[in-house]
Structure formats: C-alpha cells, structure tokens
Symmetry: none
Subunit: 249 residues, 2 copies
DNA sequence: TGCGTTTCTCAGGGAATTCACAGGTTCGGG
DNA sequence: CCCGAACCTGTGAATTCCCTGAGAAACGCA
C-alpha cells in the first residue's frame, strides 16, 4: 500500500496501513545514527542494534519488515547473525552492508534469495532505494506499489533505470540517475545543496560542494534541453523539480 | 494458473489460486536457508526440515506440492525417507539433491517416475527451473502455464532448451542458456553482476565476477549479432534484456 | 585414452564517468 | 546602478568500469 503525503511524497506502508518497520544493525554508532535518521525520514519505524545479541533481542520483539545488517560485527560475525535472524524471521529480507573489497568472497550466495547488498561507503539514496525495492518485492508492502516515478511528462523507472521525457528516452549516468531520483521523490520541494550532497553522494565524499551544481547542470542539459524547464534554482536555498508550467500535471 | 506481477515476473499458482507449497529437506542449514529464500522469492510457501523424522512430520501437516530432498541425511538415508514420503504423499514430485559422484544409475531409476534431480553444488536458477518443471508437469499447477519465455522476437523453451531469435535457431552452452533464462525471466529489469552470479553460478563458485561480463559478451555475439541489440549494459548498475526498439513488444 | 567443447583466468585496450578548476554569468541588496 | 555572492558551465585529467582476445584447465563423450 502507498499513500501520498500532502507534500507529494509517496510512502510505503504495510498492508494494514501501519508504517514499515526496519531494524538497523551496525557496530559503528555514526552509521546507525545516519541510517536511522534517513530511514525515519522515509516515514518508517526504526530500531537500531550495535551487536549480534542486541540484534536478536530487538528482532524478537520489534518484528521488523526488513533488516539492514553490517557484515562486520564485534561479538559474532554477520553470517551467524544472519543464520539466527533467518530462524527467527524467515521471511524478512536483509540488506547487507559490506566493505568494498569483501564483496566477492562472503556475500556471494547471500543475495540469491532476493536479498541485496550495498558496499561501504554508500549513499543514503542507494540504501533507501534498495530497501524500498526489497520491501516491495518481498510483499511486506503491497506489491502494486509502483516502481515508476512520474513528475509532469518526466518518467523514471527504478527497475529498468530508464528515464524519459515526453516519451523520448534519455540516457543518464549512475550519479545523474540518483540525483534525478532524489529530486523526483521530492517534487515541488526545495532541496539544499547540502541535503543533496548528503543523500546522493557517499557519506565519505570529501570533494567540492559544487559537484551538485555541476550535476544539476548535466541534468538540465539532458532533461530540460530546449523544453520548458522542470529543474529550478532557488538562489540561496537550493533546487527543486516540478512539472513544466504548460504541462498538465 | 499463472499471474504476472507488476514487475513482470510470472508466478506459478495452484488451481485454487493459493501459492505452491514446497518442502525442503537437507541437513546443512546453509543449504535449506539458501533454498528457502530463493524459493520464497518465487512466491512459493516453504517449509524446511533437517532430517528424515522432521521431513515426515512436516510432510504430514504441511502437505507440500513438491519436495526437495537431499539424499544424504543424518538419521536415515535418502531412500528410506523417499519410501516413507511416497507412502504419505504418493503423487508429490521430488527433486533430489545428490553429490556429483553419486551413482548415476540409482538416481536414474528413482527419477523414472517423473521425479528429477540436480547435483551439488547447484545453481539456484537450475533448482528453480527444475522445480517449476516438476510442478507444471504433475499438474499441481495449471498445465497451461507456459514453458516458453518470449521477449520481443527472442524465444526460449525451458523444456526443450531451444532458443531462437526471429525464427533462427541459436545454439547456447549450458551456462549461456541459464544466464539468458535468468535475464528473460526478468525482462526490463536491471540485474547486477552480483545478482546474476548468485543465481546463475553454483553457490560455491569462488571465481572472478567478470565471468558475468564474459558470458554477456558470448550471449551478445549469439543473440544480438548484427541485429538490433536486446541485451543492454547499465554502467555501474548491471545488465538488462528488453525487446529491440523496432520490435513490437 | 584422446579430442572437441566448454568454462574460466588474465590482462590490455578503450570508452564512459566523475570531478577539480577556473572563468563567465546572473542575481539581489544596498 | 554597482558590487559581491551565488551559480553555471567548458575543459581536461584521472579514474573506474566494461569489453574481449588468447590461452589454460576442466569436462564430456566416444
């Protein structure tokens, strides 16, 4: 089930209308805090744990719809936690967090069931998108919830990664795609450069803040080129996307 | 009976519309977990057992439509379990899991009745495909459910393993076939290299992730050669298959 | 056992993408 | 109207990601 808030944001809900529940397990407190903030912002209910024991405890009485699990935990390794979680919550999908170089050996096979993973350092948009995908596909939320974002005549398909405006296909790079997705998931809302940087770029990005300007410029070239512009600058505040004035929204 | 989910995936259902039920019997917990997750993802209802006694118990009150049975169990050997299963569930098809070096004739004898087997280590695509075949053939699900996948002018027959594009026959190796089947069972959806590796290669594969690139390259040579391409790369995300632009979908 | 086929590793080349930098442009307050 | 701040964008370099040829190893079958 989905509802659309007055601000135009679409939220995932469980079939009974209650908010989706997510358990976050990571031993670095900065990470659990970062994730908790971001996921709460999605309208989800979040519980966090810093080790395997706490994770099991919380899993039992919180009964989450999805779990975010770091594979490197202090007391037991991620695989043991996973095994126990599976016994306790057999149907709950897991999003693994792994170091970039650990991917090959340990994760292989784990994502097979429909689970998924992201590598550290991740971007919040990535985590949120993957989680939404997991929850959608495993039916914790209504399956009819769409994977297509629409703003005016602009369409973005999260499954096929296809973007089109007025029917014409548009090719975007990975970063452009993530940025546009973020904008489109918050239509008519001003997003500051800091917000964008925090959500779309990895949490350890140390570069210049003007990458955002650069990528907005890239997007405009591809999305707005010659057409009624949909991406707008609010000087001193940020950017927003909304249907073109002439387009029937 | 089949339904098609919004994601475009086709699900097997029982004639009364309820999900197919599968019992998984293996003493290695990692295997039952792997299989349970993968088969649940197919939309099936799964129950697992770790030994013969548990299997019998579960068979009685779960009443599965199919059974996945490891031939090496701790308390009794697979044959005894099989015998008892047969008495309890005479018409239910069984998919045997066997070690590679197991006596082929014995298995061949067992599968004469319409059962089937796969050797460990298996790929999930293989298990799922065999299981689908068994369930389809024994009529637990509607018989009209198709064994032919079609994407644009590309056709793949899961029974005969024949592949053709625009009427022209194409010879594929076993791995190429499995990869193409996985792509075609998820048309218009980006599949990451990790997902592909986890589904199409055996669970114990420890090699380089670029085998996927290699086999995509092989497939393109055979499927797309000279024609409008159907296999597309989403740089930084994965691969997807979709009807050629000029083809009526 | 021997031969053709299939699977997979390795490594080079090439192209797409990301990002820094810097000069130009626009905007809004005074 | 002027000035500084904020924003835009061309250029180019570094990097990452992907493709594919060549050959070794494993497999299957006669």
């Amino acid at each position: 089930m989905t509802t659309t808030s007055p601000q135009g944001r679409t939220e995932l809900l469980r079939p009974d209308g209650s908010p989706v529940r997510v358990l976050v397990v990571d031993d670095e407190q900065s990470i659990t805090e970062l994730l908790s903030m971001a996921l709460r912002y999605e309208g989800w209910q979040i519980r966090a744990a810093g080790d395997g024991a706490g994770a099991m405890q919380t899993a039992r009485d919180f009964r989450p719809d999805a779990v975010v699990l770091d594979m490197m935990l202090p007391d037991m390794d991620g695989l043991s936690v996973l095994g126990r979680l599976r016994r306790e919550l057999p149907d709950v999908p897991v999003l693994f967090l792994t170091a970039k170089d650990a991917v090959e050996d340990r994760i292989a096979g784990l994502t097979a069931g429909g689970d998924d993973y992201v590598t550290k350092p991740f971007s919040l948009e990535e985590v949120v998108a993957r989680l939404r995908g997991l929850i959608r596909r495993t039916g914790a939320a209504d399956r009819r919830s769409e994977s297509v974002l629409v703003v005016g005549d602009l369409m973005l398909d999260e499954d096929s990664h296809e973007v089109s405006r007025g029917g014409a296909n548009i090719h975007l790079t990975a970063t452009e795609f993530e940025l546009l997705r973020f904008l489109m998931r918050n239509p008519r809302r001003v997003l500051s450069k800091a917000q964008i940087l925090d959500r779309v770029w990895s949490y350890d990005f140390g570069g210049q803040a003007n990458v955002v300007e650069l990528y907005i410029s890239y997007l405009r070239r591809k999305i707005d080129a010659g057409r009624e512009p949909m991406i707008h600058t609010r000087r001193g505040a940020g950017y927003l996307i909304k249907p073109a004035a002439t387009t029937v929204s």
